[in-house]
């Protein structure tokens, strides 16, 4: 079973990689690339938990077709384990003036159970300048889930930026192995104040972040002796190259 899975995943990735250069040639447009880390921070929790968290992405491609890597993770610095370690590889293409559609794969390899997912989603800019990233996932175990990321950049000055953000996760079916219950499984809200130190390349920030698990997901956490909610003070760097 595992070997079959690997072949499938490998084949999918290969397809993705092959498609991009071909598409690039057809369009004959310029290729662009970039890297950014929206979050790269140290978190100190209300019960002295210490975490290292990141949320970064990089892309390469033309206006019509891009290959994008998105990576998220959370490292428990006390226990020295990766609570979360996600990597996504998607192909992205415009579907409207302000939105792109994307599709690809996601691989979770935290300390614990690994999971593969297929993913489709959209990302873009909604009215009133709200940045949206919405995805649907289907795991190798056949479980479906969804995630919605919203962010807004408020200019206190032209260099000091206040960014509220919210992330919502929902699962359509239970996946006990990775401790996810049906319904809204978790949410995270954050408020970060950053300062553009070097152009838009390096912007240090401080902020707060509140995480919470809901419903069955919260119960699973409690059973394991873990907290189902936590508040953190965060400090980190926004990067863009």
């Amino acid at each position: 079973m595992k070997r079959y899975d690997l072949m499938m995943k490998g084949g999918f990735v290969a397809m993705v990689m092959a498609a991009v250069p071909g598409a690039g040639q057809a369009a004959e447009g310029r290729t662009y690339y970039g890297f950014q880390a929206e979050q790269f921070e140290y978190r100190l929790g209300d019960e002295n938990e210490k975490r290292l968290v990141w949320d970064a992405d990089a892309f390469w491609g033309t206006d019509e077709l891009k290959l994008r890597w998105q990576g998220e993770g959370e490292r428990d610095l006390d226990a020295d384990i990766n609570e979360g370690f996600e990597n996504r590889l998607v192909l992205q293409t415009p579907i409207s003036d302000f939105f792109d559609a994307k599709a690809g794969i996601r691989l979770d390899t935290p300390t614990g159970t690994d999971r593969w997912y297929g993913t489709v989603g959209i990302m873009g800019l909604a009215p009133q300048w709200i940045e949206v990233d919405a995805d649907l996932f289907v795991s190798e175990t056949g479980d479906g889930s969804a995630r919605l990321d919203l962010e807004y950049e408020g200019l206190i000055t032209n260099r000091v930026i206040l960014t509220p953000s919210i992330e919502l996760n929902a699962a359509f079916s239970e996946d006990r192995e990775i401790e996810v219950g049906t319904g809204i499984s978790s949410a995270e809200i954050g408020l970060r104040l950053s300062y553009d130190l070097i152009d838009r390349s390096v912007a240090p920030y401080i902020g707060v972040s509140y995480e919470r698990k809901f419903g069955d997901t919260a119960d699973f956490a409690k059973e394991d002796g873990e907290d189902f909610e936590a508040t953190y003070i965060v400090t980190g760097l926004r990067l863009m190259f």
């Binding site: 310029r30 662009y32 800019l125 009215p127 408020g154 200019l155 206190i156 152009d199």
Partner: protein
């Protein structure tokens, strides 16, 4: 003995015949090099000609055949385009259209029969070499005496040199379109607006812009540059000397990548005598806005024994160029008060663009009725097309702060044209004492536009409507057909196009040799675009009929429609594009193919 005399006579005759047959051919050598650009406050690597940026000033003579050898000392291909020059298309210097380009180490020989006079410039047409510093000026001396007198002259070339390379700037703009905009509205502006207009009005105004996902501060895409005059920063203070009472000719060239400059010399009136190399009927102004790639020649006559400041503030007020006109060496003019407050676009600048910025497909045929630009006047006696009889003065800016949720979908009936239906047959009896001179709304800006320029000293600001050809280059005749070019783009994606289609996806524009084509530029974006047609003149329709000015670069402001006509009299193929470097690079570009006309000899490298 007799034979020798006859032979000598024959040789002499032959020599004379040969000399008169060849016209004077001057040869110039240019090298394209990597250079260091040091503006005092900023040191950056760049590209220049003959070891420096800006490159040299080339002087040609009208009527001569010029030979220019361009040697490429870079690691990448280069090209040299002679902006505004009429020449065989293979000499126009656009890779992929005129020729394949000049490879590293290669030398390309340009041969140009010079058939015009005036101020022009040259620059690379490869990659982002021009924003990186590859530009220089051209002065072509006329055969006949020019219709104005001057005692000395200076080239004044303006540039917006940025510490980042052009390649890097575009990559950043693609990641974040407002990467270089530090003039955005912040909390402080919000609070000030609330104090002025109330919370409700301010919230709804912000919501209007937010609904469109557009910013009224979106005037200068690339801020953070150092304004240069002849390659020198304000600190370095380029200085031109004069003797009081002399007439000085200043040849202004805007060689910027992205920036429009508002040029003034406090204390001196400027008489505009040339635009884009062609003589215009002289116009006295206090200030003028020079779009990217345009040139304006002005005559000033400093009378006092003091230093005058040449001020070039960028249109979005994020930077400026500064230089001095002085009677003695070592002087520095007093810096006039800078106008730091950046203009804000208004809903009027939105014009035809109502949220569906997309790839320009408005799909609303009823938009055709909207004409914000200067429609051609039927009454030649109108002269200056900018007469506003309504308020007797400049049109007060429209206050949109209270305009909640304006529905732009039904703008069919709105006609912003100032020219239509105006009856001037009854001009007698009009009391003009109240009509302040120089205070009329500029018809080349949308009515109520936030970009409408005002002279710093309250005086006269040059408008396209003031430009009249001193001597028309072509007989005035009706156009044989009209081609509409919608200027389109998507700021969020930083993707710019014409008719919603990028260059790489577009069919060339095909013109017939001998026709007179009328281009209708409809600006569906919120930015000003300087459109440049290579190889053939653009006769800008300012409503003056046969006196319409002849230009090579035409600026179209947001929400306006501008017309220009071209006599298609140069065979071959030509580039036609927005001269804002990063708009051109992302797709606001077309190839123009001229079908028919005399067979053009294959001119290879120098042969």
């Amino acid at each position: 003995m007799k034979q020798r005399i006859v032979l000598r006579a024959l040789l002499g005759a032959l020599g004379t015949v040969m000399l008169s047959a060849t016209s004077f051919a001057a040869t110039y050598d240019l090298t394209v090099d990597y250079v260091e650009i040091d503006t005092g406050t900023m040191k950056t690597g760049g590209i220049g000609y003959n070891g420096s940026s800006p490159g040299p000033t080339l002087r040609f003579k009208e009527g001569e055949d010029v030979v220019i050898n361009v040697t490429n000392n870079l690691d990448e291909a280069t090209s040299t385009h002679w902006h505004g020059l009429i020449l065989p298309y293979q000499m126009d210097g656009v890779p992929g259209i005129s020729f394949p380009g000049i490879e590293p180490g290669e030398t390309f020989t340009y041969r140009i029969p010079v058939s015009q006079s005036g101020t022009y410039w040259f620059h690379s047409h490869s990659g982002f070499q021009e924003p990186d510093g590859a530009y220089g000026s051209i002065i072509i001396e006329p055969q006949k005496r020019e219709p104005f007198k001057f005692d000395r002259e200076y080239v004044v070339v303006l540039k917006d040199k940025h510490p980042h390379s052009g390649e890097r700037i575009l990559r950043n703009l693609k990641m974040m379109p407002d990467y270089y905009n530090r003039n955005q509205r912040s909390l402080g502006d919000f609070i000030m607006d609330v104090r002025k207009n109330g919370l409700g009005a301010t919230l709804s105004e912000r919501a209007d812009w937010g609904a469109m996902r557009m910013m009224p501060t979106d005037i200068e895409d690339v801020q953070g540059f150092v304004g240069l005059i002849n390659g020198m920063s304000p600190e370095q203070n380029w200085t031109g000397l004069f003797h009081p009472e002399e007439r000085v000719r200043l040849r202004f060239i805007n060689a910027s990548a992205m920036t429009y400059f508002d040029v003034r010399i406090p204390g001196l009136e400027m008489t505009v005598v040339q635009a884009d190399g062609n003589n215009v009927q002289p116009v006295k102004v206090d200030e003028f806005r020079i779009a990217v790639a345009e040139t304006y020649d002005v005559i000033v006559q400093p009378k006092d024994d003091k230093a005058y400041a040449i001020m070039a503030e960028s249109m979005g007020r994020s930077g400026y160029g500064f230089g001095t006109l002085a009677p003695h060496e070592g002087m520095r003019a007093e810096m006039p008060e800078l106008r730091k407050e950046a203009p804000l676009l208004t809903m009027a600048d939105m014009g035809m663009n109502h949220g569906d910025m997309g790839h320009g497909d408005m799909g609303k045929g009823d938009m055709a009725g909207m004409d914000h630009g200067a429609a051609p006047s039927d009454n030649p006696a109108m002269g200056n097309a900018a007469m506003d009889h309504g308020s007797g003065g400049s049109m007060p800016g429209m206050d949109h702060s209270g305009m909640a949720g304006m529905d732009h979908s039904n703008m069919t009936a709105m006609d912003h044209s100032k020219m239509a239906g105006m009856d001037h047959s009854n001009m007698a009896g009009m009391d003009h004492s109240a009509m302040a001179m120089g205070n009329r709304a500029d018809p080349f800006y949308a009515a109520g536009s936030g970009l409408t320029p005002k002279a710093a000293n309250g005086g006269k600001f040059l408008s396209y409507a003031d430009l009249k050809a001193q001597k028309p280059l072509y007989a005035d005749r009706p156009a044989t057909r009209e081609i509409e070019l919608r200027l389109t783009g998507n700021m969020e994606r930083y993707s710019w196009s014409i008719n919603g289609v990028k260059y790489e996806d577009a069919e060339p524009i095909r013109l017939k040799y001998g026709e007179r084509v009328r281009f209708k530029f409809v600006n569906e974006t919120m930015m000003s675009h300087p459109m440049h047609l290579h190889g053939m003149w653009s006769i800008l329709d300012t409503g003056q009929g046969k006196w319409n000015p002849v230009k090579h670069t035409i600026n179209i402001n947001p929400g306006t429609t501008v017309y220009s006509e071209t006599e298609v009299d140069e065979p071959g193929q030509w580039a036609f594009h927005c001269h804002l470097s990063y708009h051109m690079a992302t797709g606001m570009f077309r190839k123009v193919v001229v079908e028919g006309g005399p067979a053009v000899a294959t001119l290879k490298n120098g042969n």
